[in-house]
């Protein structure tokens, strides 16, 4: 009876430990932060002028999705602030 109880407890501990490991591992998996951009597919040709014009307008939307990315370069320009800040903080008159 005691042996069976010990076996059940051991199995229970192994199962709980396994679940805990699985949950913690899943939590640590890298998650894609940047959602994939929605690709705009050019519509098929129909021989209808309105569809052609519709395709021209979709082309603008598609192009705009790329154009927005260029603006991100402005955030890079000031990324030397940390170095400058560290330097000025290293000049500390109270060290004298």
């Amino acid at each position: 009876m005691n042996t069976r109880l010990i076996v059940v407890i051991i199995i229970g501990v192994i199962v709980i430990a396994g679940l805990g490991f699985f949950v913690s591992r899943k939590a640590k998996l890298p998650v894609s932060v940047v959602p994939p951009k929605e690709e705009i597919v050019p519509p098929p040709a129909t021989g209808n002028v309105d569809d052609l014009v519709g395709a021209l307008l979709k082309e603008i939307t598609d192009e705009e999705s790329v154009l927005k990315d260029e603006e991100g370069n402005t955030t890079l320009v000031t990324q030397d602030s940390q170095e400058v800040g560290n330097f000025v903080n290293s000049i500390n008159e109270s060290e004298l």
Partner: protein, 254 residues
């Protein structure tokens, strides 16, 4: 009565500890003042070392920024070119289908005129967008150069001020000025140099406003290019429909 005893013990103990520490602290303070002249060279070297370290880190960061911007621009150009090529091919298919429908000379001419108008509108839009991008990039480069120059100037001013402060302290030490005065003067000079740099830096960080202006200018230019394009396409479509309908397709021969 018991509490009074405890309080007395704590106060008594504190007084003993303070009694031991106070001379040590005063001695340390006195040593710092007396030893300032002996330590000047070490302190100055330490600042020089930090300055050199800052130089190399700043240079590395600047290179990293330049490389990242260049890489992003190259990727941007490639993606834009790829998209444009894809839509050009799609448009050719649309026109090919329309050509199949144009049977009379008038219809063929209307389609040709329409195609030319669409092509011209696309070229104008792309040229305007490319110009906006080019201006934006030049603006970003100018901002980087301006920031670099401002940071370098502020840093040079700081270094000169620090050097002047240490030179003065050294000269005072040699002249036999009271070390306490030397130390206080040096502290004041270092603080003034640092405060000046902090103030200069605040001005430099106003560059963010310049960046916003660049972004807005580009956005407006792109919006105008798109608005003009839409208007041109709408007109071309209206003209095409009118011309196409004016020349009805002949009925098939029986």
């Amino acid at each position: 009565m018991r509490n009074f005893g405890k309080i007395f013990k704590v106060l008594f103990g504190g007084a003993i500890i303070a009694g031991f520490l106070a001379p040590a602290l005063l001695l340390a303070q006195g040593n710092a003042e007396r030893g300032i002249c002996a330590r000047l060279s070490t302190l100055s070297s330490k600042i020089d070392e930090r300055s050199a370290n800052f130089n190399s880190k700043l240079e590395a960061r600047r290179n990293e920024i330049a490389n990242r911007i260049e890489k992003r621009q190259t990727e941007f150009d490639a993606r834009l070119a790829e998209k444009r090529a894809r839509w050009d091919a799609n448009r050719d298919e649309h026109f090919a289908k329309l050509e199949e429908k144009a049977q009379t000379e008038a219809q063929k001419q209307a389609l040709l005129t329409f195609r030319e108008a669409v092509t011209a509108a696309i070229s104008a839009r792309r040229a305007a967008i490319d110009t906006a991008n080019q201006n934006f990039r030049e603006g970003v480069q100018a901002a980087i150069a301006s920031r670099k120059s401002a940071v370098d100037t502020a840093t040079a001013t700081l270094r000169n001020s620090l050097k002047t402060a240490f030179d003065k302290a050294s000269s005072d030490c040699q002249a036999g000025v009271d070390p306490k005065t030397v130390r206080e003067n040096l502290r004041t000079d270092l603080k003034a140099a640092r405060d000046k740099f902090v103030s200069d830096r605040q001005e430099i960080e106003k560059l963010k406003t310049q960046m916003e202006t660049l972004i807005n200018t580009r956005k407006e230019a792109i919006k105008k290019a798109i608005d003009d394009f839409k208007a041109a396409i709408e007109k071309a479509k209206t003209d095409f429909k009118a011309a196409f309908l004016a020349s009805p397709t002949p009925a098939p021969a029986e």
